[in-house]
């Protein structure tokens, strides 16, 4: 909320400088958004009188001015402006002067003629039409009236104000007004607060003879108050009011409109002025709009209304969108003679919904949305009438229409000083507590330890002792709070088992040279097509965000592969030759339409590419993860649509499918602009988390030597090596120590359709050195098993 500091001084003694004020207010809960010092940056610019103008010999547009700048002799300044005459008073920037924005003016020559400064336009001084009439005129700013030459221009233009923009937290709508912030300043600075005049005189008559007011929906309009003012004398509002309105970011219009705006800014209660003579049937009806009704608002826009919108109607049509904006038809104009003045409370959610639905945002609805005080309605009305009286803007008719139910009474909070101290842990003296609360307008009495606080309705945010503690501390000062080390039983914090496991997996992957990535949880729903997912793939059932930032961020992901490939794509396009990435995140699954929280499945993706990477590198990484988690693995061919059909596998961890991995299908890679082989995996961490790892017990190191035997085989070309290994393993039984594949070959000397495979097998017994017979028996079993698979032993 922007406020003129000069204007605030009408309500409160500000006995400190701006710097100190803006340092203190944030510590009481009011942050400063910005501070604008009018005339900031203007130096050595004075009011000057043009004594003589002569044309410039070498230019058809420059003029040479002899200026009285308050010095003994006239000063010569060359200007290009045409709107000046001898005898005018204008702003002159002298030699070595400064304009806003750091512009430095020094003496110089303009086409050979000395110029000891510059005549200034309003724009060059940083002024707008609202600051000074004529400020936006093309050319030099011509000052009104006569001025002593040499007078500082800031004084002449009245640029002596500071505009402070206070940030008001949403629990304190009451402070978002001149009076509200002035009260807070008076408490912070411990100075006097002066309430403005609310008295006025009426001219008799009776409002009921002019208008009938009714409220049809008292739920949406808990209070409606109206007054009549006759014989309007519409004029510009006084300078002080205009300045206060401009500082707050609004525009002055005329005294009546300005009073309604000013009272809103001053009290926080929006007001509305109706041209009485435009109200049909002399009726005011607060009601819901009817389907099909329309209104043209003050800004000239036409809106179609719906039944949930509250309007102020005359006997026939909506005349105002309640709390949002008035209608064009009943606008106050220069020739308006009679006024119906409104102050009301409208329910904030209704104002918000209507404003949102129609796309209107006004100062008025901003205040209603934040919440207004039902008791403030009357205060604001009286203040407006007293200003009408003070400015002699019209004749106030006796009587008020004031329709309301039960008005809010003060909330009484009973607590003890001890309870408050228990929350803050600082010994604030009891009388200090009482004095702070009273200064804040919370009437407080102390009886022994017992505090009784009467909270006016305008401070509806103060509900209990926690709120009182806050009110006390923000004024007493949070700097009194001294840290105390954590107390309680000494325990080491525990992590969830899932986090412990994922931490270990992450460590393993980092040690294996993988880099962790982080990507958004929502993706482009087109990912399903990009990954070639089939029509009935459950991963197509993505939960959609109702209000996404855009299509590309509109669906919760059901797989992590798309994000991984996007990251790899970025890196490939930036000429990164190789990378190993992993990500741990969640996948979201639910029955659609969504009725409950979805399943969030912890999942890991891995993506690797580069010259040294292949399917088996990735298989090695996965196997390491599986071993770490205590899983026995089995690999089978899989058919993920986004993977190379011949280079992919599903991994079973203790017989549960736990991962799919393989080389990315070239057609899919191409869609990501990836022109190299990429290997990806998606691992279900929930499966791995569920494995209960057996307690680790060490195995004694072998005492007896191992025997190594080589087996050279000839098999069909498509015989999986895994099956041969299984055969060797089952043949060797408990004696098996290790199998190593050391050669695999197809080509010359190998029959068509066959391949040659060679294994080294180590056998060892823990009970003694293997005898020749034992070894031979094991080898025979192995060969037997291999032959059953169709493998042929090569001699």
């Amino acid at each position: 909320m922007k406020v003129s500091l000069n204007h605030l001084k009408r309500y409160v003694d500000i006995n400190v400088g701006v710097e100190e004020l803006i340092e203190k207010m944030p510590l009481a809960g009011f942050e400063i958004e910005s501070v604008t010092r009018q005339g900031e940056g203007i130096k050595r610019v004075v009011a000057a009188k043009i004594l003589k103008i002569t044309p410039h010999e070498n230019s058809d547009h420059l003029q040479i001015c002899q200026m009285d700048v308050g010095e003994n002799a006239p000063v010569q300044i060359v200007t290009g402006a045409q709107n000046i005459s001898e005898g005018d008073y204008v702003p002159a920037a002298l030699d070595d002067s400064f304009l806003p924005g750091g512009v430095h003016i020094v003496s110089g020559k303009l086409r050979g003629v000395d110029s000891h400064g510059m005549l200034c336009s309003g724009e060059e001084l940083g002024l707008t039409e609202a600051d000074y009439e004529g400020a936006e005129v093309h050319g030099i700013l011509i000052l009104k009236g006569e001025h002593k030459p040499g007078t500082d221009i800031k004084e002449v233009l009245g640029l002596d104000d500071t505009i402070i923009d206070f940030s008001i937290t949403s629990n304190r709508p009451d402070a978002g007004s001149f009076l509200g912030i002035a009260k807070e300043i008076s408490v912070v600075l411990n100075t006097q607060f002066k309430a403005p005049e609310t008295e006025y005189k009426t001219v008799g008559g009776d409002i009921n003879d002019y208008i009938s007011v009714s409220v049809q929906n008292d739920d949406l309009c808990p209070r409606y108050m109206g007054r009549m003012v006759k014989n309007l004398r519409i004029n510009p509002s006084p300078d002080w009011m205009q300045k206060a309105i401009i500082a707050a970011g609004m525009r002055p219009i005329n005294n009546i409109v300005d009073i309604t705006n000013f009272v809103m800014l001053e009290t926080g209660q929006p007001m509305h002025a109706f041209n009485y003579n435009d109200l049909k049937d002399k009726k005011i009806i607060v009601r819901n709009a009817r389907e099909g009704e329309k209104i043209v608002t003050l800004d000239g826009n036409e809106f179609n209304l719906t039944e949930d919108m509250l309007v102020i109607a005359d006997g026939q049509n909506p005349s105002c969108l309640a709390g949002i904006m008035g209608g064009k038809e009943s606008e106050i104009e220069d020739d308006t003679t009679d006024l119906f003045l409104e102050a009301a409370k409208f329910r904030r959610d209704n104002v918000r919904h209507t404003a949102h639905a129609l796309g209107i945002h006004t100062e008025s609805c901003a205040r209603f949305e934040k919440g207004t005080d039902i008791n403030n309605v009357e205060y604001a009305m009286n203040r407006a009438l007293s200003l009408i009286y003070e400015l002699d803007a019209g004749d106030i008719i006796d009587g008020a229409a004031d329709i309301h139910g039960k008005l809010d009474e003060n909330r009484i909070i009973k607590t003890t000083t001890k309870k408050i101290l228990e929350l803050i842990g600082v010994d604030v003296p009891s009388d200090t507590m009482v004095s702070i609360l009273n200064k804040l307008g919370l009437k407080t009495t102390l009886d022994g330890d017992n505090l009784t606080v009467s909270v006016p309705s305008i401070r509806s945010d103060v509900e209990g002792r926690a709120d009182l503690a806050e009110e006390i501390m923000r004024i007493y000062g949070y700097n009194h709070i001294k840290g105390r080390p954590m107390r309680g039983e000494v325990t080491r914090g525990k992590k969830l088992a899932e986090r412990e496991k994922s931490d270990k997996i992450k460590s393993l992957l980092c040690a294996a040279g993988l880099r962790e990535i982080a990507t958004y949880s929502f993706i482009n729903p087109a990912a399903a097509d990009i990954l070639n997912l089939s029509a009935d793939d459950e991963r197509r059932n993505m939960i959609k965000i109702i209000n996404p930032l855009g299509d590309e961020y509109s669906a919760l992901r059901t797989q992590l592969i798309w994000s991984m490939l996007s990251v790899i794509s970025t890196n490939v396009s930036r000429k990164c030759e190789s990378a190993r990435f992993f990500e741990i995140s969640k996948r979201f699954f639910a029955e659609l339409p969504l009725k409950a929280q979805p399943q969030e499945i912890p999942t890991m993706s891995i993506g690797i590419y580069g010259e040294d990477e292949d399917f088996f590198t990735l298989k090695g990484i996965i196997e390491a993860v599986m071993k770490l988690c205590g899983a026995h693995t089995r690999y089978e061919r899989s058919n993920e649509p986004y993977l190379h059909p011949g280079r992919q596998a599903v991994v079973f961890a203790n017989n549960t499918p736990a991962a799919v991995f393989g080389e990315v299908h070239p057609a899919v890679a191409e869609k990501f602009g990836i022109d190299t082989r990429v290997y990806v995996a998606e691992i279900k961490l929930d499966v791995l988390y569920a494995i209960n790892k057996r307690k680790l017990i060490y195995k004694p190191l072998p005492k007896y030597p191992a025997v190594e035997r080589d087996f050279s085989l000839l098999t069909d070309i498509d015989m999986p090596v895994g099956e041969l290994q299984n055969a060797i393993s089952s043949g060797a039984g408990r004696l098996l120590e290790k199998i190593k594949l050391f050669d695999i070959y197809t080509g010359s000397q190998i029959p068509e359709g066959k391949k040659s495979i060679a294994f080294s097998v180590w056998l060892r017994s823990s009970e003694g050195t293997l005898t020749e017979e034992q070894t031979e028996a094991a080898c025979t079993r192995i060969i037997d098993k291999l032959q059953k698979l169709g493998a042929e032993l090569r001699k």
């Binding site: 510590l27 629990n171 842990g425 949070y478 840290g483 914090g493 962790e516 982080a518 959609k544 919760l556």
Partner: protein
């Protein structure tokens, strides 16, 4: 014979001293000390000596043998040393040649910071919990004292998935789930991913990370909150930073405070980093609102507590002076490799 012995010894010593390599020294050893060596054969010639002379001469020959032996051993050692020296010298490499690269992996900077935070709070006895990323309106707002249409909901634009189902806007929802399931004393943190409908720019991301902290016990005050946050700030920002509270508003805490630390760049003098204020805002905190305690079945007349919410991304970007938050989610390898 004595003279002969002396002559042989001198000759042997001279030869040994001149030997240039292992082969020559071995030849010398054989020549003098071998089975048929000159000194050995001298012993054999002692038969012609008198019984009185024999032991004397024997002694002399053995002494000479020992001398020559030790000289040969010495020479041999020296030669070996020299040979090694030469070999090592020949093997000298250019140590500035490029290393054989070890493929070093690493955690994402957000994980590094999260782990650091977890360590700090775990050491203070906080349990580390998780919560769902998709929350209900009840846990994300209502239970946190943010009723429907309360203006506080304006403070954060929420991604909705369905009526009353949304992507959590803060980790505070975890407070409620914890208090429903645990009895005081409660001391937990919940790090996690949160979502707000912020347009992406250098300082805003629709996906970011928070760490929620909650303590509920008898007699917990704002001084305890200050104590915990001071310890946190000292670990993260340095021993010398000061911590201050500024009043603020969050619906689920009362009193609510913004927490600032003295600027780590200028030490509080005022600089560009702190915009001349000398303080940097780091987190929001407060005493758990009595309504929140009550709605979780905890009696606010018996227990009190505090909660705080730390922006992990913010700490990450300030710690590493990352000027654009988008870098965290872009995952350029050259960026990731710096951590």
């Amino acid at each position: 014979m004595k003279e002969k012995l002396e002559a042989i010894r001198l000759a042997a010593e001279a030869a040994a001293n001149e030997a240039l390599d292992e082969k020559q020294i071995e030849e010398i050893r054989v020549k003098y000390l071998g089975k048929k060596g000159e000194l050995t054969s001298l012993l054999k010639q002692m038969g012609g000596l008198s019984p009185e002379e024999r032991p004397k001469m024997g002694q002399l020959v053995n002494d000479a043998k020992a001398k020559v032996e030790s000289l040969i051993a010495e020479r041999r050692a020296r030669l070996k040393e020299k040979a090694t020296e030469l070999k090592l010298k020949a093997e000298t490499i250019d140590i500035t040649l490029p290393e054989k690269e070890v493929n070093r992996g690493g955690l994402h900077p957000l994980s590094i910071v999260t782990n650091d935070l977890i360590d700090i709070f775990q050491s203070m006895g906080f349990d580390v919990l998780d919560g769902p990323e998709v929350e209900t309106d009840y846990y994300n707002f209502e239970c946190l004292n943010v009723p429907a249409d309360h203006p506080a909901r304006d403070m954060q634009d929420t991604f909705y998935l369905a009526d009353k189902i949304l992507l959590r806007t803060q980790t505070s929802a975890a407070q409620i789930r914890t208090m429903e399931n645990r009895k005081p004393p409660i001391r937990i943190i919940c790090p996690g991913r949160v979502f707000r409908a912020d347009e992406v720019d250098a300082t805003h991301s629709p996906v970011f990370h928070q760490l929620e902290g909650l303590v509920v016990d008898k007699g917990v005050t704002m001084c305890d909150l200050m104590g915990v946050l001071e310890q946190f700030a000292h670990e993260i920002y340095g021993k010398d930073v000061k911590v201050r509270f500024r009043p603020s508003f969050f619906p689920f805490t009362e009193p609510s405070v913004e927490v600032d630390v003295s600027c780590t760049e200028c030490g509080g003098e005022g600089c560009r980093v702190c915009k001349g204020e000398g303080w940097i805002e780091i987190l929001g905190a407060g005493m758990v609102h009595p309504n929140v305690l009550r709605s979780c079945g905890i009696d606010p007349d018996v227990y009190s507590g505090f909660a705080f919410g730390i922006g992990i991304d913010r700490i990450t970007t300030t710690r590493y002076k990352i000027s654009d938050i988008r870098l965290l989610f872009e995952n350029d390898k050259r960026f990731l490799e710096q951590f």
